[in-house]
């Protein structure tokens, strides 16, 4: 597949990197140095020029491309690029936007601006944060089939009542499937007799309700969070506060810039906006940040986020979630005591990756360290699963595949051995990276 990526910034290079081995990748950027840097490290065709310029796009041969990904830092540029690409050929266009305002328009008419798919980085990140903030032990949360199915990666803490139990003992929930266990960089596909250990990461797929129930089974002493503090009122911080307000929370939001703080206060009626430096210890004490259930750091850079969350943790905050722009830092953050590091780029990559699969998955979640993925597919007539009970078709699949959830006509069906999958059903599967290609084709 020929893929044209416009914008060789961090997101663009990242996508280029992951696609370069299996696809023909063309990268367009205005900055010749950026383009040069990329060609040295990856096998991509560089073109220097303006992505909104039709001449440049023709030079990149957009007309023959199957996919155009506009991932510059500028929303308008990305949208115009998609619009221009749309005129030149029939490539599938993906625009990355930061501000959700364009997403709003795009969602109304799914082909607005000539964009086939819009990835709103900041909104996706905020959604991820809100999902994590609501579940005290969650490391990663992703939703499928319009929120009907949720994938959650739970960390089993020391002393958890679940630690030491077998999967069969722990699984008291009807609509929940244990898809995989991550233990010491290894993936275990659990059976009923697999024992859970403290420190394990459990990937569960099921209804959002069962996720909450399992979360309180893992850590019964933790109530749902009440008091959430967001540090940094950029777009991610704002969207996080907005989504929390929608879910009935009354968060506090700390923003340093007075004008921005005023704007936020006007936009967020239920949020208490504090105009101060988030690393001002006096403020943190005065506002009893230590008593907060969750502190979310969404400041401008990783260092500030690290500092803010470490401060909060030291003051006694239960849970600290930090936004990490540099993907490599995620592990480092979690190693020094930050509970969850959320990477906007990973979130964006998940969204974009699904379009680069041979058959387009409806949704994709990438499990820590790229070891496995959770994918949503709509079942068609050629699928191995169609019109057969699961236990029968399971034999045809490679090892390392678990069917997590099935939905039919907007209702969840708990997958059992004798469940017969029909055409049009949505199936959420967990698959190890090694068998990904095979599974994608089989489904």
């Amino acid at each position: 597949m020929r893929v044209v990526i416009v914008g060789a910034g961090e997101v663009g290079s990242n996508i280029a990197e992951s696609l370069a081995q299996t696809h023909d990748v063309v990268v367009v950027d205005r900055d010749p140095e950026m383009v040069d840097a990329l060609t040295y490290s990856h096998d991509v065709l560089p073109i220097q020029g303006d992505g909104t310029d039709v001449d440049t796009l023709e030079e990149a041969d957009v007309g023959d491309a199957e996919m155009v990904i506009a991932s510059t830092d500028d929303d308008e540029t990305n949208i115009v690029t998609c619009g221009a690409a749309n005129v030149l050929g029939d490539a599938f266009t993906i625009a990355r936007t930061k501000s959700p305002k364009y997403l709003k328009a795009w969602e109304r008419g799914r082909h607005a601006f000539g964009v086939d798919f819009m990835v709103c980085t900041d909104l996706l990140t905020a959604e991820a944060i809100v999902g994590l903030a609501g579940l005290p032990t969650a490391q990663d949360v992703d939703t499928f089939v319009d929120g009907l199915v949720q994938m959650t990666e739970f960390k089993i803490p020391e002393g958890s009542p679940v630690a030491g139990q077998t999967v069969a003992e722990a699984d008291k929930f009807d609509s929940l499937t244990f898809a995989g266990i991550l233990r010491a960089d290894e993936i275990i596909i659990p059976s009923g007799t697999t024992r859970l250990r403290a420190g394990d990461d459990v990937v569960a797929i099921g209804s959002p309700d069962s996720m909450r129930q399992f979360s309180s089974a893992i850590a019964p002493q933790e109530d749902g969070p009440q008091d959430i503090v967001i540090v940094g009122g950029g777009e991610i911080g704002y969207q996080t506060a907005r989504l929390l307000e929608e879910r009935g929370f009354t968060p506090r939001l700390i923003e340093q810039d007075e004008e921005r703080a005023r704007w936020l206060a006007e936009k967020l009626p239920k949020t208490t906006v504090l105009n101060s430096d988030a690393t001002d210890q006096e403020l943190l004490e005065r506002e009893n940040i230590g008593l907060a259930d969750v502190v979310v750091a969404a400041l401008e850079n990783d260092q500030q986020n690290l500092l803010a969350t470490l401060l909060a943790k030291r003051m006694g905050t239960d849970r600290a979630i930090a936004v990490v722009d540099t993907g490599d830092f995620s592990d480092l953050f979690e190693a020094v005591g930050i509970d969850v590091a959320v990477s906007p780029r990973k979130v964006t990559a998940e969204e974009i990756t699904r379009f680069t699969r041979a058959r387009r998955a409806e949704n994709v979640a990438i499990i820590e360290g790229d070891q496995a993925e959770v994918l949503e597919f709509e079942i068609d007539a050629e699928s191995l699963l169609v019109d057969r009970p699961i236990q029968e078709s399971a034999a045809d699949f490679p090892e390392g595949v678990v069917i997590g959830a099935i939905t039919r006509d907007g209702e969840r069906i708990t997958p059992r051995g004798d469940t017969v999958v029909r055409k049009g059903d949505h199936v959420v599967v967990f698959a190890e990276t090694a068998v990904l290609e095979t599974v994608t084709e089989q489904l």
């Binding site: 700390i254 007075e258 703080a261 005023r262 936020l264 206060a265 006007e266 009626p269 208490t272 906006v273 504090l274 105009n275 101060s276 403020l283 005065r286 506002e287």
Partner: protein
């Protein structure tokens, strides 16, 4: 644009007064129509039509002369002058028929001007002592002046004040519902007309409901004349009545039916418009409306309670009716009375005194400080308490979800303070002037009279009570009342602005 305006400007005066006079002239010309109608009523009732016809001729001639000034572009400065002049000129024209008719206390120029100003400012304070000394035409003219005053404030609020940064006008802009004034129709003129229709419809509805009560036998002494004159003065929250007993002259059924008209006359007309369009949610979700309703019910409850403890009335219905009627009447700045509340216990009377400072909703015909300002003051104060504990918190003031600009909050504080200061100064003046002239008046009655005139309510307490009049005040005090009724109606600021040299020169 500056070139257009230059035509109307003098070298030393920076206000295009010619444009202002031209527009005021148009208003004067229009005034001839109701005067001619009143003259017709005079003829029908056997009185002389001369006072009204000659006034009509006068206002038409002078107005026509004024209106021939060339009109330039209107700016904020012209807006202030037009607002101030319009009310002044209608008051002056309105006083002429009283003098020419020459009956009773209204025959002296000061009293005539007092009555006319009280009319057009929708105050309702009267100097009429013998109601039978005046024919139906004079009573109709008093009612018409008030109806014009109510319509005027609605139209001016939309058309002129919303363009100026006057306290009340900024309110109009910030109040979320009145922001819809601009969305209602794209043009200001159409919006003003729309609100005018709501006003007229409400008036018509009240006439109809009184006549219906009469037809049902529930209002034995209501004549069509009563229905019209009271509808004119209830919906405009003004309060003149041709009857010496005010609403006390009518049956309880009539009194009950009148309460909602005063209440809605003091409700934001834009919200009323949406109500007529079958959308009550805007009214019910309005912070200000809830506050307004709460204040009315709260004060009614307290008043009724005090009336019960002082055994003023026997029975639940009269107690509830009289307390609700009086509170609504005073709070909406109408000024009707069903009973002489002068005789009530001090506690109950002070509830009414308190009600004087509330007023109804902005964007209506009500006067006084208005609930919108009080809502903002209360919210702002609560915010101050919150920021005591969270000094870094930024907490915008919201009205029905819409953020109120901080400069508007400051203006509102300033306006409330200014109102109280003027009120206190006027009280002091009333007391000292009465002492100078040897007129006996006690402190509370002076406070009441100052509030009732400056806040455009009407009846006060003591001799100026609901069944009394203002004729006993020294002439200098009456002149002061005239000026302050005018100042109060147009929300103080336009007049104060006119008094600054900077307004005229730079």
């Amino acid at each position: 644009m500056s070139r257009d305006r230059a035509g109307g400007l003098d070298r030393n005066v920076r206000v295009d007064w010619r444009t202002c006079l031209s527009l005021v002239g148009a208003v004067m010309v229009a005034l001839a129509a109701p005067l001619v109608v009143t003259a017709g009523v005079a003829v029908a009732s056997g009185d002389s039509a001369i006072p009204f016809l000659s006034t009509a001729g006068l206002t038409f001639a002078v107005g026509f002369a004024f209106s021939r000034y060339e009109r330039g572009n209107m700016g904020a400065r012209e807006g202030y002058l037009i607002v101030a002049l319009t009310w002044l000129v209608i008051a002056l024209v309105g006083a002429v028929p009283f003098v020419l008719a020459g009956n009773g206390t209204l025959s002296t120029p000061v009293n005539a001007l007092f009555e006319s100003t009280s009319g057009v400012t929708t105050t309702g304070a009267t100097v009429v002592q013998d109601f039978d000394a005046h024919g139906p035409a004079v009573h109709l003219w008093r009612a018409i002046l008030q109806w014009i005053g109510g319509l005027g404030i609605l139209v001016i609020a939309v058309a002129v004040l919303s363009q100026l940064s006057v306290g009340g006008a900024q309110l109009m802009e910030t109040e979320s519902q009145t922001q819809d004034v601009n969305k209602l129709t794209p043009s200001i003129e159409q919006t003003a007309r729309l609100l005018g229709w709501v006003y007229a419809a409400l008036t018509g509805l009240m006439v109809g409901s009184w006549l219906l009560l009469g037809a049902l036998g529930l209002a034995p002494n209501v004549t069509p004349f009563d229905a019209v004159t009271h509808a004119f003065t209830a919906v405009s929250t003004a309060g003149f009545s041709p009857r010496a007993g005010s609403l006390g002259a009518f049956s309880p059924a009539v009194q009950w039916v009148t309460i909602p008209f005063m209440f809605f006359g003091a409700t934001n007309f834009v919200l009323l418009y949406y109500l007529t369009q079958g959308d009550p949610s805007r009214l019910l979700d309005s912070d200000e409306f809830r506050f307004y309703l709460g204040v009315v019910l709260g004060l009614t409850g307290l008043t009724a309670g005090f009336l019960v403890t002082s055994s003023e009335f026997s029975g639940v219905e009269p107690t509830v009716r009289h307390s609700l009627f009086q509170v609504v009447s005073i709070l909406t700045t109408t000024g009707y009375a069903t009973v002489d509340f002068n005789g009530w216990s001090p506690a109950a009377k002070h509830m009414l005194f308190l009600a004087m400072f509330s007023g109804g909703m902005a964007g209506s015909t009500t006067c006084s400080i208005k609930t919108l300002r009080w809502v903002v003051v209360v919210k702002s104060f609560r915010r101050d308490l919150f920021t005591e504990i969270h000094p870094d918190a930024i907490r915008p003031i919201r009205l029905s979800g819409q953020v109120v600009d901080e400069s508007v909050v400051r203006d509102i504080y300033a306006y409330v303070l200014l109102s109280i200061v003027v009120f206190v100064l006027l009280t002091v003046f009333v007391v000292t002037d009465a002492a100078r002239a040897g007129v006996g008046i006690n402190e509370f009655d002076a406070l009441g009279a100052a509030a009732a005139t400056f806040l455009n309510i009407g009846p006060a307490f003591g001799d100026a009570g609901p069944y009394g009049d203002y004729a006993f005040f020294p002439r200098t005090t009456r002149v002061a009342f005239i000026v302050l009724m005018w100042v109060g109606r147009i929300e103080i600021v336009p007049v104060l602005v006119l008094l600054t040299p900077a307004y005229w020169r730079s």
